[in-house]
Structures are given as structure tokens and as C-alpha cells.
Subunit: 230 residues, 2 copies
DNA sequence: AAATGAAAATTGGTCTGACAATATTATAAC
DNA sequence: GTTATAATATTGTCAGACCAATTTTCATTT
């Protein structure tokens, strides 16, 4: 007997959601005001407000004090706060998150090669060269490393996969991890990036995945050491 | 300048979250009542209610009319409504979701074998036998198929991976897909299940993944046919 | 003493009206 | 035309009231 009691607020929430879909409203579009909603839906302002706040909480609407109500522009962004709570509440292990990242990256390689998606090899190489330059000039290495891996995920021609990958990444960002990387290990990463791209070009999934696995090795040994110390 | 103006409601939300963490409240624990919160936090009932509703929307609290406020027991469950919106708003392709499922399942096999987690082979076999019985007696085949795959994910010794896998599964459940399966194809699935288990037992990752890939083949061809028709 | 059931108290749901804080728009001054 | 200021619109917060659902209390019955 899992019957949901339909409160007025829930009804209003559904109506608003439908209204958004029916009117094909896009992110940052202006929505109706509280006043308009109370008049159209013929419910109290209280109910309207609670519905709006609820929809804002799950990232569908964005309420601007004094400025009106808008369609939120974050695709799956509000999941962040939920993940934060999940992370704080349940004892999430760093190792778990890294394993998931590895699954995603290896999976991306498989999708790219198996599906034979058109891939801009040159662009990947260029990103990696920027990565190298950041390494040699003490630049923002993490930025270009992230762009490289993001590009791989994007290349899978699977937007939903990319969205979830981003979620995992943001989840991962909750964890402070101080992996001190010296220049040598960074250059090794650079070489691995190139090796992965070449393997993709050659449709050599095994080689690509093997290199990616090696790419993950340092962080796994780091985690293992951390776990042993604690 | 992305400074968030801290409305009273947001402050109350943070306080309540902290309160939950500090008091180490667990799912289904009873929380404070609206009255108690208004008195403790010295804000109006309106603010308290809007904060509570917001926290309910993201799956942290559960409000029972007349019965009080409780800590919600859904780990990442409330993400569902967000995913539903995501699915309805952005044109999510079924193919994308299946590809993600494949990445997860293949990743699970890798984790199981590479990490050499202790695995109850016998139990997996038994689940699969229940699957076979369901096939031959026109029983609930989907149920046991799901249990089998769930067990594999669980066996990775990675709770977070399992949680995300469940999210994807629930996302997938949004899609109505009528893949008519005859007895023969179901029995083929049963055999593949067994083959996968045996491959795991033999630490043969390649074989396990190859079989799993074959296991996914029917649904991919089905999707391809669907896409061609539309 | 235990079980039943009605009454009372508690708790969340909705409504109304008011005023404050913020953002937008219109107006006036230059 | 631009800028500064005032007026308006919109969301934020508050208070009080009543309704609906649940829980508790307690008298009644067995």
C-alpha cells in the first residue's frame, strides 16, 4: 500500500512541470510570477510558493528574489547537493569513486572504438600538447588533463553518458585528495595520453585500455598507501 | 561575482542539515516538529516549512502529514524525479542508456576479476537456476534476470558503484521498451549467465566481457531496428 | 488486566493579509 | 542620450487562523 497522498502542493508541482514541458520552456526562460500562478491555479500563494521552492530544490526552477521565476539552466547540476549529502551521510570511500572513474574511462574507450565514432585525433593531440606545455611551464596541468579526459567522454557520442560522467566528477571533487605529482610523473601521463590516442586511431581497444589502466595506477597505489596508514 | 545571497530559508536549510549530521540521525529517525524548529531557530513557521519542503524535495527529509518529520530512507532515490525531468526535457536516447548499462556491466566484471573479490559462485548459479525455472514455468523472468545482474554489481565490493548502477537502472525504467523475448532467446540468456559466472571463476576477464557483450547484442539489434523505423 | 473505541491533543496542510527586501521599470534631471 | 532617482513589481518573511491527518489519552467494555 504505497499510495501517495496527493497534497495540493504536489498537484501544483505536477501542473507546473507539465506547463514547462507543454510550453517547451528552455533554460533561463522567464516563467510566470507567483501572482500569476495563484490566479491561474486558483490556490493560495503559500501553496504556489512551496511548489516553486520544491522545484527549485530539484533544479528545475530558479527563483530570483524580486526578479521573477526562471527555468534553471543546470542539466543535472542540482544533483550535486544530493551527492554532497550522500557523501557526508554514507561513508563513501575514495577508492570506490576512483574505481568508478576507471570504469567510465575504460568504457568510453570501448564505446569510441566499437562504435567507430568519427574522432578528431588532431584536437586530442593539441589538447595534450597544451597539457605538456602546462607541465613544463608550471601551468594549470589539472585543467588540461581534465579537458583531455572530458573530450574522450564527449567523443563517445553519448550525451547521457557524458552527463553522468560529469556527475561522478563533481562527486569526486567533494573529496580532497593531495596527490603530489612531480614533473616526471606528469610527463609520463602526457605520454600515456598520446599512447591512448594512438591506440584509438589504430582501433586497438586492448592497448588503449591497458594504457588507461596504467594511467590510473599511480592514484590507486596512492590510495592503497593511504588506506594502509589509517 | 556569483555571490549567493543567503536567504533565511537557506540558512535554516544548512542548520537543519548540520543538525542531522551532528546528531548522526539515521534514515527513519524522527526529526523535530515544525513547532520545535520555529522555537529553536526563532524564525517564522513559513521559513521552517519552506526549508523542510526543500529538504524533502532533495530526499533528505520525509514529511508525514500529522505524523511528524523523519529522516528519509532513500539513499539516492530522490534523484529519480530529477532524472525524470532530465529525460523529459533533454532528448535522451534509449541507445545511450543501454550503452551506459553495458559499460557498467563490463566494468563490474573487470572490478570483480581484477580485485579478486571473494565471490559466492554458488549463489550466482542458484539465482540463475531460479531464472531458468521462471523461463520454463512462464514465471517472472525479468525479476531473476535483474537479481542476477544486481548481484554482479554488488559483488564488486563498491557500494557507491552499486548506488549509481541503481540510479541508471531506475532511469532506464523510465523508458518503456517492449522487447519481446521468446523462450529460446531467454534460455540463451540463461546459458550466457552461466558462462559469465564460469569465466569469473576462471579469472578470464576477456571471456566474461565477451559473453556479456553477446548478452547485450539482442537489445542493441532491437534498438537499431527501432531507430531505422523512425 | 487487556482490548476497544471515542475524545482530545498534536502535527502538518492551506488560507489570508500584511510588511520588508530586492529587482525592474518609469520618470526626471543633466 | 545618459544618469540618477522615484515608483512599481516581485519575491521573502512574518503572524494568525482554521482544516486535515495522525497520534495520544483515557474512559468503557469485556
Amino acid at each position: 500500500m504505497e499510495i501517495q497522498k496527493t497534497s495540493l502542493v504536489n498537484i501544483v508541482i505536477e501542473r507546473i512541470k507539465n506547463s514547462i514541458l507543454e510550453n517547451k520552456l528552455k533554460p533561463n526562460d522567464k516563467f510566470l510570477t507567483e501572482k500569476e500562478l495563484t490566479e491561474q491555479l486558483k490556490v493560495s500563494r503559500t501553496v504556489v510558493r512551496e511548489a516553486l521552492i520544491s522545484l527549485q530544490a530539484v533544479g528545475i526552477l530558479k527563483i530570483k528574489p524580486g526578479g521573477g521565476i526562471y527555468i534553471a539552466d543546470t542539466k543535472l547540476g542540482t544533483i550535486n547537493s544530493i551527492l554532497k549529502h550522500h557523501y557526508e551521510t554514507y561513508g563513501v570511500k575514495i577508492r570506490e569513486l576512483i574505481e568508478i572513474r576507471k570504469v567510465i574511462e575504460l568504457g568510453a574507450l570501448r564505446l569510441i572504438i566499437e562504435k567507430q565514432v568519427p574522432l578528431d585525433i588532431q584536437q586530442l593531440k593539441e589538447i595534450n600538447e597544451s597539457y605538456l606545455q602546462a607541465i613544463t611551464t608550471n601551468g594549470d596541468t589539472k585543467k588540461f588533463d581534465r579537458i583531455f579526459h572530458q573530450s574522450l567522454i564527449k567523443a563517445t557520442d553519448n550525451d547521457t553518458f557524458y552527463d553522468f560522467s560529469e556527475i561522478i566528477h563533481q562527486y569526486f571533487a567533494l573529496v580532497r585528495i593531495d596527490l603530489t605529482e612531480n614533473q616526471d610523473s606528469l610527463i609520463e601521463s602526457y605520454k600515456q595520453h598520446n599512447e591512448i590516442v594512438d591506440a584509438i586511431k589504430d582501433n586497438d581497444l586492448l592497448h588503449a585500455q591497458k594504457t588507461m589502466t596504467a594511467h590510473f595506477e599511480p592514484i590507486f597505489t596512492f590510495i592503497k598507501k593511504m588506506e594502509e596508514e589509517s
